[in-house]
Symmetry: C2
Subunit: 140 residues, 2 copies
């Protein structure tokens, strides 16, 4: 049966993960997309081209990220972290965050390859979720 994870174990799952599902609220609609991310201190960092999730979070900053750590159908952990969206507008910090994300994801997509070559020219948005609540469940 499933059991609740201690917060420290939930953080471990969040920190070890590389992809998760980011949910936000767009008007009265929920919205969810898979993202790559990394964790530093109590924040989740990611990047995105402009689009629906960025517009939604600019208007309504609450968001959450669900991350799964799956061995098999009966051995898994699932974590959800809640936080508030903050766009990283400082150019030096933005470049540092984008480089860290690219270092973590060596299999670059075409957009990211262009980004790696020329960070400042693409309209890529770097953002963080400052996590203020985390919970997790496990079956083990």
């Amino acid at each position: 049966m499933t059991r609740k994870l201690k917060d420290a174990d939930s953080w471990q799952v969040l920190q070890a993960g590389k992809t998760g599902h980011l949910a936000c609220v767009d008007g009265s609609e929920p919205y969810v997309v898979p993202i790559n991310y990394l964790v530093d201190e109590n924040c989740i960092y990611s990047h995105s081209l402009p689009g629906r999730k960025i517009s939604a979070m600019r208007a309504h900053p609450r968001a959450c990220l669900q991350v799964s750590q799956i061995k098999d159908d009966f051995h898994w952990r699932s974590v959800i972290a809640f936080g508030s969206f903050e766009e990283i507008r400082d150019e030096a910090e933005r470049r540092t965050v984008l480089r860290s994300l690219l270092d973590r994801f060596p299999k670059l997509t075409p957009v990211e390859s262009q980004l790696a070559a020329d960070v400042e020219l693409l309209p890529v948005i770097a953002f963080r979720l400052r996590v203020d609540q985390i919970s997790g469940v496990a079956e083990e």
Copy 2:
């Protein structure tokens, strides 16, 4: 680069999938969890024990399901279907839906094993999302 999918291709991804990420709105917070599901006609069917997602969707019925079809990092499709939550309260229909879900997921979890043995005794909720909007993107 990514391209938009035609609706028929988005439906194909949704119908072929078995697991997705369901997002809903809980007060002012988004919420997202992985679920097993099946599609019949224009509806997504799933089941759940009582909990946060059910309470949230009872209060605010709008929800969405994101489903990925991944070959590798550069060949994937991602679909999001939006709809309204409807709890299946008719007992005959509820049993039919639960049996269909169990048939589709032969690797039963302990809860589902008990459910298969005795559908009517567990407080398992069957529900549908009646899909009214779908979109998808692909990199291929």
